[in-house]
């Protein structure tokens, strides 16, 4: 274990950093959820909804999501390569640079430096920073895998490799722009073409940030924490290749009924429907893995995190394709249904699986046990309730919005003004804030548990030294 100590501190650094940025992102999220029903909470110029929403999405996607992915991927790569990182100092520098970049990113977004490409809002100097961060990550991941001491590459490594490659391509292409000063640029793509490139990126950034690296965690930590081997290796092979193949065809399902050429829309819808199969390949693999001994749900506190996580992944990957179908899209697109969908994935699948992975890693690093299973269970139930309440509330209001926008009188005129439709959202938007608070309290239990475990581990290490 001694060989790993330095790298483990880097992993822990990423985990703690990601939790910190997670808190920032969640607090901003709560704030903007209140702005939806209380516009007085918009405080110009920095704290208006338009600026803060991108701080929320970027803070959580990059700060919490990618931060955790960096740290946990390093951990998984070391375990599966049976060796420390090839470039330990580079990884440590990567950690510092990551935090500096996220801090600058947040400040720049508050300042209104926004490319307005969804999930690629950062302006060009920070884009370069993100690419440098990614290259540093790639060098260590590939280097360590190439110099590994275990011949076979386990499933999780496939997903991590795919993540490294796909995100690099997606991010660089979508951010190609001509600078106009240090804080402003204009993309090289215009109009319809720009929409197509953006949603090719936007959808697949979701795929390769919120799906493949999280699946890498799932395939590694589920067997590790339960002691149960993955049900089918063959199924995981089929699921992997069909997933990474089909994902990149589907971006245009975000552009249904827009002026984008119809053939691209239709092709995207077809591949989106196909994507159910590989997604559920992993879901089935997860269920059957635990299916060999369901008592693990009671005896091992982490099993339920993974099973709930993969369940939400399963629901997400059926709901998503359903939304892509034209007849469904025309009702729910542009409504609050969509944030309901997104948050099931991020709160239910990504956060649940990532938190469980962290629960596994932190005690392992300190060679101790988790501080409190009871606190972890409280965390589990609170985030589950908060997330369900959030998503269900948003689905209801989304269907309502879509229906009100479409409603007509007997003579064919529109039945509701836009404002009448909007006013009916208020109770749901308020309920969503309550759901967010419940989720946040759950996350505080998680943070407390991790903090106390680290404290316990440090005390233990000090007593042994």
């Amino acid at each position: 274990m001694h060989d790993y100590q330095y790298d483990h501190q880097t992993v822990k650094g990423f985990i703690v950093s990601s939790i910190f940025w997670g808190v920032v992102g969640i607090v901003v999220g709560l704030w903007i959820s209140i702005q939806m029903w209380k516009p007085e909470l918009n405080i110009p110029p920095y704290f208006t909804f338009g600026r803060m929403r991108v701080v929320h999405t970027n803070g959580l996607a990059i700060g919490l999501g990618i931060g955790a992915i960096f740290g946990i991927s390093y951990y998984i790569v070391m375990r599966l390569a049976r060796r420390p990182l090839l470039f330990p100092k580079l990884a440590r520098f990567h950690l510092y640079l990551f935090n500096a970049a996220v801090a600058l990113a947040a400040l720049s977004l508050f300042a209104g430096m926004n490319q307005t490409l969804e999930y690629a809002e950062l302006e060009w100097p920070l884009d370069i920073g993100v690419v440098i961060l990614w290259v540093m990550f790639a060098v260590n991941v590939f280097g360590t895998i190439i110099k590994r001491k275990e011949e076979q590459m386990y499933i999780s490594l496939w997903y991590i490799i795919a993540t490294v490659i796909a995100v690099a391509i997606l991010y660089i292409v979508n951010n190609l722009a001509v600078p106009a000063g240090m804080t402003k640029s204009y993309p090289v793509f215009a109009g319809v073409n720009s929409a197509n490139v953006q949603w090719w990126y936007g959808h697949n950034a979701v795929g390769f940030i919120f799906t493949t690296p999280i699946l890498a965690m799932f395939y590694y930590f589920l067997p590790k924490s339960t002691g149960l081997p993955i049900y089918s290796h063959r199924l995981s092979i089929v699921a992997f290749w069909s997933l990474v193949f089909a994902y990149l065809w589907t971006g245009a399902h975000h552009l249904v009924y827009t002026p984008l050429p119809d053939w691209i829309q239709t092709l995207a819808i077809v591949f989106t429907l196909f994507l159910i199969a590989p997604s559920w390949g992993s879901v089935v693999n997860g269920y059957y893995t635990v299916g060999s001994d369901w008592s693990k749900m009671q005896t091992n506190y982490l099993t339920k995190f993974f099973i709930m996580g993969i369940t939400f992944y399963g629901l997400q990957t059926v709901q998503g394709p359903t939304q892509a179908i034209r007849v469904v899209s025309q009702l729910i697109h542009y409504t609050d249904w969509v944030p309901g969908h997104v948050h099931m994935g991020t709160m239910g699948w990504v956060t649940m699986t990532t938190a469980a992975s962290i629960y596994h890693i932190i005690p392992k690093i300190y060679n101790t046990e988790i501080y409190s299973i009871k606190v972890a269970n409280t965390h589990f139930w609170l985030v589950l309730i908060g997330q369900l309440m959030f998503s269900i509330t948003m689905w209801i209001t989304g269907i309502q919005q879509g229906a009100l926008w479409k409603a007509t009188n007997a003579d064919g005129s529109l039945k509701y003004t836009f404002m009448e439709g909007l006013a009916k959202n208020y109770p749901f938007w308020q309920l969503r804030t309550v759901a967010g608070v419940i989720f946040t309290v759950g996350m505080l239990f998680f943070i407390y548990n991790i903090y106390m475990t680290i404290r316990k581990g440090r005390a233990l290490a000090a007593s042994q030294a």
Partner: protein
């Protein structure tokens, strides 16, 4: 044989890259070289320096987080917002600003829908127009001046034509001026379609005449749709007074049917059409209300 792949990371990475690139090439890369991805309407004009500055502010403030700019070819959507979006309208948008969420209404046809004064006052205080609106106030933009040098560099990068006067003129303009100028140009490359629901205007006389309660019903509708522009009791504001004897900038009364037609179809200089939002009875009740207020005034 196939099992080898999982022992050779470089080979694996190459195969994975190829697999990932297939969909990318077919749906993103290849279309880029087809004409269908670069359409441009003949009468689409590049943004002026003031409009571009406004568009930059729209982006800076993240307006796209709550407003879309694409009308789908769906019946009720065209009724609510106007003609559905055409591919050739967006050639000068780098990037596109279609958005993905309508917390507020779509803006693809906002250009020319309201007079400038409406936008200035609405940005200043959206709740004065719609009490239940959740839009933030943007009046603070009028205290911030444009920087002509910055605008010039932005025009250059976009390759839009401009003159020295265009740029010089910006020094006197505020960010709010720019944003309003941008609002007024959005979607104007496509001609407005006149609502077909005006046939009822042929009825010269108000069918509700003699209905004692009609003006009360009309008042309810008026308070919801009209008073933000035409003021309390029709005394005027952004829009003209409805209780004086001037109609359409001319002295002299006009018939009930003509008033109905204006409400239903709007006018070219700032009155939006309401035929798709108000049924016949509601529009006639408004006519009754306007006549009632006129009489009170006499």
């Amino acid at each position: 044989m196939a099992g080898e792949l999982y022992r050779k990371p470089i080979m694996f990475a190459i195969v994975a890259t190829v697999v990932i690139l297939v969909g990318t090439i077919v749906t993103m890369f290849y279309p880029m070289f087809t004409e269908g991805m670069h359409p441009k309407l003949d009468n689409l004009k590049p943004y002026t320096a003031l409009q571009l500055a406004g568009k930059d502010i729209y982006m800076r403030e993240g307006c796209n987080n709550c407003h879309t700019q694409t009308v789908r070819p769906l019946k009720t959507e065209v009724m609510r917002y106007g003609e559905y979006s055409k591919a050739g309208e967006f050639a000068y948008d780098r990037p596109f600003l279609w958005g993905s969420k309508r917390t507020g209404p779509d803006l693809a046809r906002i250009g020319g829908k309201y007079p400038d004064a409406w936008h200035y006052q609405h940005f200043e205080n959206p709740q004065a127009f719609f009490a239940q609106s959740n839009m933030p106030k943007y009046g603070w933009l009028k205290d911030r001046k444009l920087d002509p040098a910055v605008s010039e560099s932005h025009m250059k990068v976009n390759g839009f034509p401009y003159t020295a006067e265009d740029i010089g003129g910006l020094a006197a303009k505020s960010e709010l001026d720019a944003l309003v100028a941008y609002m007024q140009v959005i979607g104007t490359a496509v001609a407005k379609k006149v609502a077909p629901a005006a046939a009822a205007a042929a009825e010269e006389r108000n069918p509700l005449e003699g209905d004692e309660r009609a003006h009360e019903r009309g008042e309810v509708v008026y308070k919801q749709y009209c008073d933000a522009c035409h003021g309390d009791d029709g005394k005027g504001g952004i829009g003209p007074s409805l209780t004086d004897t001037t109609w359409l900038n001319k002295e002299g009364d006009i018939g009930d049917g003509r008033i109905y037609e204006i409400i239903a179809n709007g006018t070219p200089n700032g009155m939006p059409p309401y035929a798709n939002q108000l049924d016949k009875d509601k529009i006639w009740s408004l006519v009754s209300y306007i006549r009632h207020e006129q009489h009170k005034n006499k």
